[in-house]
């Protein structure tokens, strides 16, 4: 190793290893580069060590000049290495002489502009955030968004809103009627599956006909609202986030603001209201289709007559509250999905990656909130003796 430092490197590139050699006395040191500097080799770490240990041993010099051996072959690795060295020397206040370097290398060094002060600043700008504080920030933003929505809604009630009813109708069509096929399929299969699962258990007690009770009660109380909400979150909530996020990306939201048109009135209100009204309707539809799924199993697999199954269902649903409780939930679910989707869209960042993130988090957040709310509803209902 010492060999490398104080003698000049082998001539004619006999060894292709890149090397540095230092010569000169106490005050002015000459640093010579030799060998082959190439992106494909990996000797830089070693050289870095050599350079550091040289600096440690000799810190008394005031001036360092750089030159290349004739046989040296170099590419950007040398430029980067050299600019790092210059940075270190610069920071410790040494004089640097570059005059002996070839013109091309000098201009590359100039253009790279890798001065140590710049890179330090770049890192100083980055800070770590504590996740809990970020959560508080998010919560406060969401609350203020909710407040703006309430204000916009009251403007609508007073007839002062700028909401376009055409947008409302369009959102209602795309989140309501267009969702019918998927809602039909999912809720029919949900009813059917529940009937199969229930029939196996109920057969043990010779109470197979109670499959009708099981399916109808489960559908109207829970599964109808929940299934529709999950479909809506994945379908409509995501679409809202993507649509509004894209508008933000194209500065459409900014241009609304410059005309004094509130994006809440103009974009968020029609979408959320449409979903708020469509979700209960779809839930009612899903309840019926789910019961039809149960009926299919009851008549085709368990050999009940349609009338028998129907009468049993009717007696299970003797109270309308069973149905209303499900619809009540779905009203709230619709609102949650609409608000979360629009909020995430409005707060998407200004590049396409953050748009994808906004859509994903809109779906995840709304499904989480839906399940949490559903559980809270059930707890409240059972404490109030409503079940």
């Amino acid at each position: 190793m010492t060999n490398l430092h104080h003698t000049s490197s082998p001539k004619n590139g006999e060894s292709k290893k890149p090397c540095i050699a230092f010569s000169g006395d106490g005050d002015a040191v000459v640093c010579r580069f030799g060998g082959k500097w190439s992106l494909n080799d990996d000797f830089r770490d070693e050289l870095q060590q050599d350079w550091k240990s040289y600096l440690k041993r000799n810190s008394s010099f005031n001036e360092m000049s750089f030159e290349l051996e004739e046989s040296v072959q170099w590419d950007s690795t040398l430029v980067v290495f050299l600019s790092k060295m210059i940075g270190t020397l610069d920071a410790s206040g040494k004089k640097i002489v570059l005059n002996d370097l070839p013109e091309g290398l000098r201009s590359l060094l100039n253009m790279s502009g890798l001065s140590p002060t710049l890179s330090k600043n770049q890192y100083a700008n980055r800070k770590l955030y504590f996740p809990d504080l970020k959560f508080l920030f998010f919560a406060s933003r969401f609350v203020s968004f909710w407040g703006e929505w309430v204000l916009a809604f009251s403007r609508l009630v007073c007839g002062k809103s700028k909401m376009r009813w055409y947008d409302f109708a369009e959102a209602a069509r795309s989140s309501g009627a267009s969702a019918l096929p998927i809602v039909t399929l999912i809720s029919f299969l949900t009813g059917l599956t529940m009937a199969f699962v229930g029939s196996v258990q109920l057969e043990k007690f010779n109470a197979k006909i109670y499959v009708a009770d099981l399916v109808s009660l489960a559908m109207v109380r829970e599964m109808g609202a929940l299934m529709v909400a999950i479909i809506m979150a994945g379908r409509t909530g995501a679409a809202f986030a993507a649509e509004i996020g894209n508008m933000k990306l194209n500065e459409e939201i900014d241009s609304l603001r410059t005309f004094g048109i509130s994006p809440i009135d103009f974009l968020v209100l029609p979408r959320t209201l449409a979903l708020f009204l469509m979700t209960p309707l779809l839930t009612l539809y899903a309840d019926v289709v789910g019961m039809l799924g149960g009926l299919a199993v009851g008549t085709q697999v368990m050999d009940f007559s349609v009338l028998h199954y129907f009468e049993q269902t009717q007696s299970a649903l003797s109270s309308m509250w069973e149905i209303f409780s499900g619809l009540l939930k779905s009203l709230l679910f619709g609102l949650i999905i609409g608000l979360v989707g629009c909020y995430k869209g409005l707060n998407a960042g200004s590049n396409s990656a953050s748009l994808g993130k906004a859509v994903t988090s809109a779906v995840v957040l709304s499904i989480t909130l839906i399940v949490v709310c559903d559980a809270m509803f059930e707890i409240i209902f059972s404490y109030l003796d409503l079940r």
Partner: protein
């Protein structure tokens, strides 16, 4: 007396405005004034915060420091009613046109009119198609933004920005992406509007030809220090700016004569 006049003639004034996105500083202590009827051009290298200056001037971004004065009043100290009155005088053309994608060109231009005026539908339609023909888009009234080219979107955006007959028009790179002839026509349009209607312009542009054609006044933002380093008429800046990069910018990298 003359001081009072001076104040009135300043439509807009930035006083030591600073702005940052999170920890990332975009502007630092930028101060300049826009006088009534002038065309002020904001120039500077890419990433020097030109669009951010525009957003700070139009009330879209609240500065972290300094003041934005509109006709002598502090914009961010006014209440929301006053603010919306102030911004009603502004028209903004964004970089990509920023047309509302779910509406046809006609609806795009008429929405501000419907929102802020008591005109009847027929009148609004007439005004909207007049504005569209001003920018050479007659016959495209029922097209949607997705059916237009980039340059047409930009022109439609300009028509929309002019919808409410604004006193101040902010244009963010109006001629980027336009062919030389169309961009020349746009410059002529700007000069014409300035002369005939007395509209004040704040324009962000990179096009040297445009700058010398339209600008009464230019301010230069420096990308490195994030601040305003020089201001004056374009010719003053070109010939006698104390900063090398300003002269280089305006002479396209050639040394000044």
């Amino acid at each position: 007396m003359s001081e009072a006049l001076e104040k009135v003639s300043k439509v807009l004034e930035l006083k030591e405005v600073g702005l940052s996105y999170g920890d990332h500083k975009v502007l630092e202590k930028v101060s300049f004034a826009v006088r009534e009827g002038d065309c002020v051009v904001v120039i500077g290298g890419s990433g020097c915060g030109k669009s951010t200056v525009l957003k700070a001037m139009t009330g879209l971004l609240e500065p972290n420091g300094g003041k934005v004065m509109v006709r002598g009043r502090d914009y961010w100290a006014s209440d929301s009613v006053e603010r919306s009155l102030i911004t009603k005088e502004f028209g903004v053309l964004f970089q990509g046109g920023a047309l509302w994608s779910s509406m046809s060109l006609m609806e795009n231009v008429s929405l501000p009119l419907k929102t802020h005026t008591a005109l009847g539908d027929e009148e609004i339609a007439q005004i909207a198609s007049y504005k569209l023909s001003l920018v050479g888009l007659r016959g495209f009234e029922n097209f949607y933004p997705s059916e237009l080219s980039g340059g047409m979107k930009k022109r439609a955006g300009l028509a929309r920005a002019m919808a409410l007959d604004p006193k101040v028009l902010f244009l963010d790179e109006p001629s980027a992406g336009l062919d030389p002839l169309t961009s020349r026509r746009l410059d002529d349009l700007i000069n014409e509007l300035k002369e005939s209607l007395g509209i004040t312009f704040v324009v962000i542009t990179h096009e040297l030809a445009s700058i010398f054609e339209i600008a009464d006044y230019a301010v230069f933002l420096d990308a490195e220090t994030k601040t305003l380093i020089d201001q004056g008429t374009p010719l003053q800046l070109l010939h006698s700016s104390a900063h090398d990069q300003v002269r280089a910018f305006l002479s396209r990298g050639n040394e000044t004569p």
